[in-house]
Assembly symmetry: C2
Homo-oligomer: 190 residues x 2
């Protein structure tokens, strides 16, 4: 069994990893900078984790899960047409280079070259879509599953573009984004 103290060090290392990933990028995180940031010796990284990569994967996955869970917490009780605005409101709350955004994108990209990470992220996204789908379905939105798919993708795309385009505000986007919840044209109606 590990002591509370060692748990703390593990936690600090994961925290430092998340901070460094967003600040300098996934591949710029080294064992030494990581240990220094966490305030421990360089050797500790390979005592608590099998490898630097394993540490980074765990840091990213837990961090992403936390963001997703938080976004989903207040979701099920709202109507999609209002809840969408609520979600968009968070877009403005974050600075253009929101740490969570960068963490997600860094992880997506790292997953391109790491099967374990890819599996973890896929699982995470499926969970997110399951909740979104149920939420949309309760709100009477047509084709809820695909809409959830598209909504999740659009959210990530918006976050990505927002880093390069600070003018992109929620007020601007909201009315157009709402079209995604509208029923298809009359002739295609089911």
């Amino acid at each position: 069994m590990s002591t509370p103290k060692s748990h703390q060090v593990r936690h600090d290392l994961l925290d430092a990893a998340r901070a460094l990933i967003t600040e300098r990028g996934w591949t710029a995180v080294s064992t030494r900078t990581l240990a220094q940031r966490a305030g421990v010796g360089p050797g500790l990284v390979h005592y608590h984790f099998a490898s630097l990569n394993a540490l980074l994967n765990e840091a990213a996955l837990t961090g992403m899960a936390q963001v997703i869970d938080q976004a989903l917490t207040h979701l099920p009780r709202t109507d999609p047409r209002q809840g969408l605005d609520q979600l968009l409101g968070k877009l403005d709350a974050y600075p253009p280079n929101d740490p969570a955004t960068v963490l997600f994108t860094e992880a997506y990209l790292a997953a391109t070259r790491d099967a374990d990470l890819r599996e973890g992220i896929t699982e995470l996204l499926q969970r997110l879509r399951t909740h979104l789908t149920a939420w949309l379905e309760d709100g009477g939105i047509a084709a809820p599953e695909t809409t959830a798919h598209l909504l999740a993708a659009t959210a990530d795309g918006l976050m990505l573009h927002r880093s390069l385009d600070p003018d992109l505000t929620a007020d601007q986007v909201a009315p157009v984004l709402h079209r995604l919840l509208n029923p298809p044209p009359a002739e295609e109606q089911r």
Copy 2:
């Protein structure tokens, strides 16, 4: 002045850079692997370019510009409601880890930490949106500018999620994505 031969080497280096960025990631491109891939000596990199970073930036920007130009070529003559399907068709034509997709995402992420690159990409995206806006406007789509914004972001988001979700097909997404072109709820009539 530089000879045609030297132009060829420059071109080869930029080509090799784009290939390596998509294969191994932006930060994994080293002067030596780059030179080896291009079939030249390691010292040539810093003869033709001010730094490795400058080479990577130029490689990414020219590559992205080419992709954008190609996507825009056959755009202005089509109706948005049909052209959207045409654009989506390309989604299926590319493998899940499409090189162009990875190049874009890698560049977006690198731009987070490089002001020059960020400026270049911003300019590129503005040009893309200008064309998209005109295209949507000609098609009678409401709020064409914001719609273009959102469409560009959604495209990038879809590409990103597609790497993690090969089940995501154009056939599935198309009907829902079409909602983005529908009139806003205020003018809704059915």
